[in-house]
């Protein structure tokens, strides 16, 4: 059934945030961490804001034996811990929990999917018979293959009386090869417009605001190019380590975990050309073009311009912490990177020869994500007392977390008779302009998927291009088993990362 709501004359100018049509959400892997920490609290929040459709149901699908009652109780406990809403005496809680039904089974067996189908139909027939279904794969990626194939075989991938969509959690593959395989498996059963690859970064208001900032404000776009911008630094820093997920991290590394998805999303939103419209395909077409324009990374290029690191034992905020190699489940000879820094170029008219420096790491001094744009110096230095180069560059920073906002660093005269010049900051903080805090990223994305808006989800070609770009780095590291450079916990990364910029007379921003 095609949604033609945009052409409905009664829809014009409707200010309401659109509520989705009645549907059922089927969570695969519902006893897992993601469901408890993120999905159920987000759904409860949507419920409290009356944003869930009427006739909404959640089927929680996992392996361990549990009754629906037990599962609801677990979720109520989870909500106490993770929901922003008051749980005790919340009259909506029981009503919300009554929407959840537990379905037990093994993803690898077709019978459980057949049973799921019957269960779904029974639930749907009790309401209005519409069969709008949203499958959410909240499972380890190793399960995707059997779930998707079984959904196909059980004819749960499409139906006559409603839409069917599927949300897939990252990682979407481990490298180009596996990404292509995963896209093939999903593509055999679902069409691309049914598939919603979730990268929760795109659900963050501040990430979406990159587009508003660029394309709704006339003053920035004219300077958003190689004529005015010297270079760009994108940082995703975490102060935490692997936090008990050592085995998972050892298989993944920061390049796969952060750079392939979150960072390349930030980069493409920052650098893309204006889309012809703010709709799913126009926006994603432009994002893919950025990834396609990044110069491919040769072995020689990687050697000189990509740096990896591993955190070594140290202390952070007065706490002594063990290094990566001493974390539980990590082999002594691990070469998995907990830090990566690199320089990239986007070979197009707008960005030719502007370096983009990316860095991401664990156990850095603080948690911060931002894009910093360094502008070129004024053409002529006319202030006699100050020698050229001493006046710091103007920097515009888009802060994604934790202090969402935008700040501009510019130079100003120090009061007094002297001619000193000092940089000052002009800050815009979301928190002081909009009293309420933005909704959680998962809330926004779940709602978008139910409504059928895929603008903030990753398209298959985007995902493949990102892997195509980074897979040579993974291969280079695999073949190059040298010890990974170490950096002290609480520092801003290995010396090699500093050198990457210092040799070009630049430096990382101290955050």
């Amino acid at each position: 059934m095609e949604d033609k709501s945009n052409e409905n004359p009664l829809r014009q100018g409707m200010r309401l945030i659109r509520t989705p049509q009645p549907c059922t959400l089927i969570i695969f892997g519902a006893t897992g961490d993601l469901t408890r920490r993120k999905l159920i609290p987000s759904l409860f929040s949507l419920y409290n804001q009356s944003l869930l459709p009427q006739n909404f149901n959640i089927i929680a699908f996992a392996r361990r034996p549990k009754t629906t009652e037990e599962f609801r109780r677990d979720m109520a406990d989870g909500l106490k811990e993770f929901s922003e809403f008051q749980i005790d005496k919340n009259p909506g809680l029981d009503r919300f929990l009554s929407l959840i039904h537990y379905h037990r089974g093994d993803f690898t067996q077709i019978e459980t999917h057949e049973k799921l189908k019957k269960f779904l139909q029974k639930l749907e027939d009790k309401k209005d018979g519409q069969r709008n279904r949203l499958h959410y794969l909240a499972t380890p990626p190793s399960q995707y293959d059997s779930i998707i194939k079984n959904l196909g075989t059980a004819q749960l991938a499409r139906n006559e009386n409603g839409w069917t969509r599927i949300i897939i959690e990252k990682p979407f593959g481990r490298d180009l090869q596996s990404a292509l395989e995963l896209n093939k498996i999903t593509g055999d059963v679902f069409t691309e417009d049914q598939i919603y690859r979730i990268d929760h970064y795109l659900g963050k208001e501040t990430v979406q605001n990159i587009l508003v900032f660029r394309f709704a404000n006339g003053i920035f776009e004219p300077i958003w190019n190689r004529r005015y911008i010297d270079h760009v630094q994108i940082t995703v820093a975490e102060n935490i380590g692997v936090e008990g997920r050592g085995r998972f991290f050892e298989e993944t590394g920061i390049l796969r975990d952060i750079v392939q998805n979150h960072m390349l999303q930030l980069l493409s939103l920052f650098a893309m050309e204006p889309p012809s419209a703010f709709d799913a395909n126009a926006v994603r077409d432009e994002k893919v073009k950025v990834l396609k324009a990044i110069s491919p990374l040769s072995r020689q290029y990687i050697k000189n311009n990509v740096v990896r690191g591993q955190y070594a034992a140290g202390s952070l905020m007065a706490k002594s912490l063990s290094g990566y190699l001493q974390e539980e489940g990590i082999p002594d000879n691990s070469i998995t990177e907990t830090y990566v820094a690199m320089k990239l170029f986007i070979d197009n008219w707008r960005w030719a020869s502007v370096p983009f420096y990316l860095r991401a790491g664990k156990r850095l001094p603080k948690r911060v994500t931002e894009i910093a744009i360094y502008f070129k110096d004024a053409p002529l230095q006319i202030f006699g007392d100050v020698t050229e180069g001493e006046i710091p560059a103007n920097v515009l920073t888009l802060k994604i977390q934790p202090d969402e906002g935008i700040s501009l660093k510019f130079d100003s005269k120090v009061p007094g008779p002297g001619g000193n010049i000092r940089p000052v900051n002009m800050d815009f903080r979301y928190g002081t302009s909009f009293g309420e805090s933005p909704p959680d990223a998962y809330e926004r994305l779940l709602l978008d998927a139910m409504i059928g808006d895929s603008t903030l989800f990753t398209r298959s070609d985007e995902n493949e291009k990102a892997w195509e770009l980074l897979t040579p780095i993974l291969h280079y590291w695999q073949n190059n088993k040298n010890r990974v450079p170490q950096y002290n916990i609480g520092s801003w990364g290995p010396k090699e990362a500093d050198d990457l910029l210092n040799k070009e007379n630049r430096a990382w921003r101290r955050l």
Partner: protein
């Protein structure tokens, strides 16, 4: 509040000319230079509120914490006290602070109250302009339309981004409704106008729009033959007329002279020349609710009658039913939580652009009565 409530009007009495200085003293004492301190004065807009009775003053004051939580702003409340036989303007200032957030930051907003008698109205534009925070949008909320009645100053009008009305949900005569429509149309030429009564209809509009979200239903939309709108109001229901105006304007219907001088039955022609009969009625049951009770649309397609009904059910739910002679009825439910005034106001403050859909709905109401110009009658 960080200032004592030592007067009948919240805040401390200050001379008009000292308002800014006193505010800056307060902020200096509480926030230092305004950076890196826990108390932050925040403003994203100017909100002018005009009221003319003390009860309304207290009610409005109660909305301020929620309004400033969502939209930190400078509020200038104008209390025109008909009991005061003076043109003197007395001013008070106070600050509203939110409870500290998780990060320890406490956001505060400023409130200026100006009290005067009817004779002071003419002075107000000249006082308000200097008090507006520069370069931030200016909203005017006029719950009793005092503004439109009194402030004719173009200079002042020019400086207001948006006027938020609260057209009475229910009024005594069609004449008043007609006047209200003319009034909104005129004012919309200079200001952007919105109406909290219109905002209350959002859930109903959503319910009706949803019927026609699928292309195969377009033929039904083009072949509507009859609409009936029921309301709970004891007098003329602004909601019902706005609903009618909205549907008629969206679907490009033209009103024609209707034979009914009781104003229950109106006739339109659709773009393809078809006739549409529109009925506005009081619901059979009484309920303490001024909004709608039912909207029913009938379409005649290939000699089949299809009925789309949206009915107010319990628990803030609108139940929708599609009945086709040839198949089983289809039911659906839409949540229609009725926001309180503070929420409605916040909702209006989020919008800056012109709500042309609302203006066109009002224009259609105006056209309906203009077409049916004969002597207006009191109803109910």
């Amino acid at each position: 509040m960080i200032l004592p409530n030592n007067a009948e009007i919240t805040g401390i009495k200050v001379k008009l000319s000292e308002i800014e200085k006193k505010f800056s003293d307060i902020w200096k004492n509480t926030t230092g230079d305004g950076r890196d301190k826990a108390v932050v004065k925040a403003s994203t807009l100017n909100l002018i509120i005009t009221i003319n009775d003390k009860n309304q003053y207290l009610n409005t004051l109660n909305l301020i914490p929620e309004v400033t939580f969502h939209n930190p702003c400078r509020i200038i409340m104008i209390l025109i006290n008909p009991e005061l036989d003076t043109e003197r303007i007395t001013s008070y200032i106070s600050a509203f602070c939110q409870p500290p957030r998780q990060d320890g930051v406490q956001l505060c907003s400023e409130l200026i109250t100006l009290e005067t008698g009817n004779a002071g109205i003419n002075h107000l534009p000249g006082i308000l302009l200097p008090l507006l925070l520069p370069d931030l949008p200016v909203f005017l909320w006029s719950p009793n339309n005092l503004f439109l009645n009194n402030f004719k100053s173009q200079d002042f009008h020019k400086n207001i981004e948006r006027v938020i009305l609260y057209s009475p949900e229910t009024i005594d005569s069609i004449d008043e409704l007609y006047k209200m429509a003319g009034y909104v149309i005129n004012a919309s030429e200079t200001s952007k106008i919105s109406d909290m009564t219109w905002a209350r209809l959002t859930g109903w509009r959503e319910a009706v729009a949803r019927f026609f979200d699928f292309q195969e239903r377009e033929q039904y939309l083009n072949n509507i033959s009859k609409i009936s709108i029921e309301h709970f109001s004891k007098a003329v229901s602004t909601h019902a007329y706005l609903m009618a105006g909205w549907i008629a304007s969206r679907l490009d219907w033209t009103p024609v002279n209707s034979p009914d001088n009781k104003r229950h039955h109106f006739i339109f022609t659709g773009p393809s020349g078809n006739q549409i009969d529109l009925f506005i009625k009081k619901a059979p049951s009484d309920k303490n609710d001024q909004c709608l009770s039912k909207v029913e649309i009938q379409s005649l397609v290939q000699n089949r009658i299809i009925t789309f009904s949206a009915v107010q059910a319990k628990n803030n739910i609108i139940k929708t039913i599609i009945k086709d002679q040839n198949s089983e009825p289809v039911y659906n439910y839409i949540q229609n939580a009725q926001p309180d005034n503070a929420r409605l106001l916040c909702y209006e403050l989020d919008f800056i652009k012109k709500d042309t859909i609302y203006i066109e709905a009002v224009e259609k109401i105006w056209q309906i009565f203009n077409e049916n110009k004969r002597e207006t009658v009191e109803i109910y």
